[in-house]
């Protein structure tokens, strides 16, 4: 199978075969990171621009390391370091970037849809590294990769997702992705964090946290975003932790071999108890490791792989 998409913008626009191809490719890439010399020449001569307009540690570093392991040249620019602080529009900025002939633009932006709008205006590939509350496809793909690696499959698994679904691009991408791959996704949160019509993305809304995690194969905890507390979503962190925090007691309701995930950064003691986060069943750090391999796969597929058979 050849990967024919120019861009990776969201999970919705990938079909299950494409998702499988990405995950398979990422598993192959993972081995490179375990070598003593962690570098292959696959994308030598390719230029990758990391255009991040929102703070990011993990995702940006992961995309940057992935580029270097494939021998691509990566350049990072940020909003404060770009002309956008001088009032240049997003489209003008990326048209300027494009004039320098990059092969891939990886972008993160605070507005939903920014990567979609940019992708239809430039000829190079665009990888969405998170846009507003819309999509975070590389995170969802690495989550699917980690679960598939851990459980051997995605089909038929029961995924419980708890937290601020309304303001989470990770939640949207994972609900769409896991349900597309045959997992049953159940979500739970105070109603203030459940957006209208969420079930149409492919999940069910559980009435209680206990019902949500019962028999779950995977529990995915979302970060409570403290910076959103000017919009009243819950009274106190104490009360939130009591109702929707993952602790040992709730964890015991899940399947025996349950896996706990968190896209990070964690608020220990709020959405996840410290002992659960550190427990052996947690694969939070595996997610980070797989993130590099997954992003190498995305680069390869859009910029160096089968889409450009003549340059392979």
């Amino acid at each position: 199978m050849r990967f024919m998409k120019k861009d990776i913008l969201d999970i919705h626009s990938l079909d299950p075969d494409e998702i499988s191809l990405i995950l398979d490719t990422a598993m192959g890439m993972k081995e490179i990171s375990q070598r003593p010399v962690k570098k292959v020449p696959t994308l030598r001569g390719k230029t990758i621009v990391l255009f991040f307009q929102e703070p990011s540690t993990r995702t940006k570093l992961s995309f940057e390391i992935a580029a270097k392991r494939l021998s691509a040249d990566s350049v990072a620019i940020t909003k404060t370091g770009s002309s956008m602080v001088k009032g240049e529009t997003l489209i003008d900025t990326v048209k300027n970037l494009e004039s320098m002939r990059p092969d891939v633009i990886v972008m993160r932006h605070s507005s939903s849809g920014a990567a979609v709008q940019v992708a239809r205006r430039v000829d190079c590939s665009v990888i969405n590294a998170g846009d507003g509350i819309h999509a975070h496809p590389s995170q969802a793909l690495l989550d699917m990769m980690s679960v598939r690696e851990n459980k051997g499959r995605l089909q038929g698994l029961k995924l419980a997702m708890i937290g601020d679904i309304a303001h989470s691009r990770v939640a949207r991408s994972n609900i769409i992705g896991f349900s597309k791959m045959g997992a049953a996704v159940s979500i739970c949160a105070p109603q203030t964090m459940i957006p209208a019509g969420i079930a149409s993305l492919g999940c069910t809304v559980a009435p209680t946290m206990e019902a949500c995690v019962a028999d779950a194969d995977v529990i995915m905890m979302l970060r409570i975003q403290k910076e959103r507390q000017n919009d009243v979503l819950f009274p106190t962190e104490r009360e939130y932790a009591g109702c929707f925090g993952l602790n040992k007691a709730r964890l015991s309701l899940a399947a025996k071999d349950v896996t706990v995930m968190h896209p990070g950064p964690m608020n220990r003691g709020v959405e996840i108890a410290s002992d659960v986060a550190d427990a052996a069943c947690s694969m939070i750090l595996d997610q980070v490791t797989n993130g590099v391999a997954l992003r190498m796969a995305l680069y390869y597929l859009v910029a160096g792989g089968s889409r450009h058979a003549d340059t392979d």
Partner: protein, 432 residues
């Protein structure tokens, strides 16, 4: 110079609907004649060189269409639209008059701005303007503007459109004050706290695209409040750009109680829904937002049963630069003057409204809401629109005479349009 409009179906709801010839003398309608009377051998010769004859066979002549919700942007935002270009767009759309919203820079909150707008309109020599003045000074929602002074200068309504009057006590006082002036109060019904930074209708589509939602309740709670304030004060409240089922249900109830409320909707609310917002195309972003299919059906039902009195375009021109942005940062609003009639005629072609109903909603009721008449009778001002009901065409923003092209309707196939627009006996638009 006299003009004879010959052979049209003359339709003035409640008064006439038959083939007539209409003679215009100067600024007025001089006579409505049976076709035989106007034959070359009859009372009105067509070959004297004194009478310009317009062959209107196959066309419908209606009282001049009025769009009571238009943003002309001048003074202050002439790069989006000027009074001259906006009124030319109105004329091209078949409108003989528009009600201009006061949210210009400066705000039309005093008689000097009102006088400026009317003078510019006079120079433009296209459609007429009936300005709306602000309710509050600077539309800031704290003190009443000098409404009586503006009324003497020519305003026909007041509104803080673009913003709600958040303070219910100020609204009560405005209604009481305006009731004494026989001045309608136009309500932009929006609870800003409930909007909470949203950019499209709250629902599955907004959730899918990750756009913050605006619930229907953000509109309807203010509709409910101002219905009760109309009841309290006895003042005429007119609700602008009604978009959702909840508001329509409330207004239907209010009318049943005999409360003095009227309302308008815009063509996009009965033509498009939130599911039509695709790939962050900001031409689909306006306030209030496109709602659900259920709401769209409720808007049509409201038009059919008379709950909705008028169709107004909420013509909101914006420059390309203000629209070619991230969805949540792009300006709200679309142009409508040059598409409103064609989109509304679809309701007639689809059998929801009779043509008579539509003329009431686009000509008769808008005038009534502003406290005016709009009749085809001998002696009235010759503000008339000639409509070709059948002409199939495609909406082409490139042909708009408005300064802005921000419309979601580019490329849409429609049927019917204005062919001639006459204001005070002068032809201000003639389809080439």
């Amino acid at each position: 110079m006299r003009i004879l409009i010959k052979g049209a179906r003359v339709l003035d709801p409640g008064s006439v609907d038959e083939k007539k010839d209409v003679l215009i003398d100067g600024e007025q309608i001089a006579a409505i004649l049976d076709p035989s009377d106007a034959s070359p051998s009859g009372a009105v010769p067509e070959d004297t060189g004194d009478v310009q004859v317009i062959d209107a066979a196959g066309l419908v002549l209606v009282p001049g269409l009025m769009d009571i919700h238009v943003h002309l942007r001048e003074p202050g935002h002439e790069y989006k639209e000027t009074i001259a270009t906006g009124l030319a767009a109105a004329a091209r759309g078949g409108f003989t008059a528009v009600c201009a919203m006061p949210n210009t820079v400066p705000v039309n909150d005093n008689s000097q701005v009102t006088t400026f707008i009317l003078e510019k309109a006079r120079q433009a020599n296209k459609a007429k303007v009936y300005p709306a003045g602000a309710i509050s000074k600077g539309s800031a929602g704290t003190n009443l503007a000098e409404i009586r002074d503006m009324q003497q200068a020519g305003i026909k309504a007041v509104t803080d459109d673009g913003l709600p009057v958040a303070n219910a006590q100020l609204m009560r006082r405005a209604l009481e004050y305006c009731n004494g002036l026989a001045m309608p109060v136009f309500v932009h019904a929006e609870d800003i706290a409930l909007v909470n930074g949203g950019a499209m209708n709250e629902g599955p589509a907004a959730t899918f695209w990750g756009i913050k939602g605006i619930p229907s309740a953000a509109e309807a709670v203010m509709v409910a409040r101002d219905i009760l304030l109309s009841q309290l004060t006895g003042a005429h409240v007119h609700f602008c750009h009604i978009s959702c089922k909840e508001s329509i249900d409330l207004i239907r109830w209010a009318k049943q109680q005999g409360i003095r409320v009227t309302c308008e909707t815009a063509p996009h609310y009965f033509t498009l829904i939130d599911e039509d917002v695709k790939d962050y195309d900001t031409h689909f972003k306006m306030n209030p937002p496109l709602r659900s299919e259920e709401d769209r059906q409720a808007v049509i039902q409201g038009l059919v049963d008379g709950t909705i009195d008028a169709i107004a375009s909420d013509h909101a021109p914006h420059s390309k630069e203000e629209k070619d942005l991230e969805f949540d940062q792009a300006a709200f609003g679309i142009v409508g003057l040059e598409t409103s009639l064609s989109l509304s005629l679809k309701l007639v072609h689809d059998g929801f409204l009779t043509l008579e109903d539509l003329v009431r909603k686009m000509a008769k009721n808008p005038a009534r809401i502003l406290g005016m008449n709009n009749d085809i009778i001998s002696g009235s001002r010759a503000d008339l629109t000639l409509i070709d009901l059948e002409k199939k065409h495609t909406i082409d923003p490139g042909r708009f005479v408005s300064k802005s092209q921000n419309t979601p309707f580019g490329g849409m196939a429609v049927q019917g349009r204005a062919v001639t627009t006459m204001v005070d006996g002068k032809i201000v638009f003639q389809h080439p």
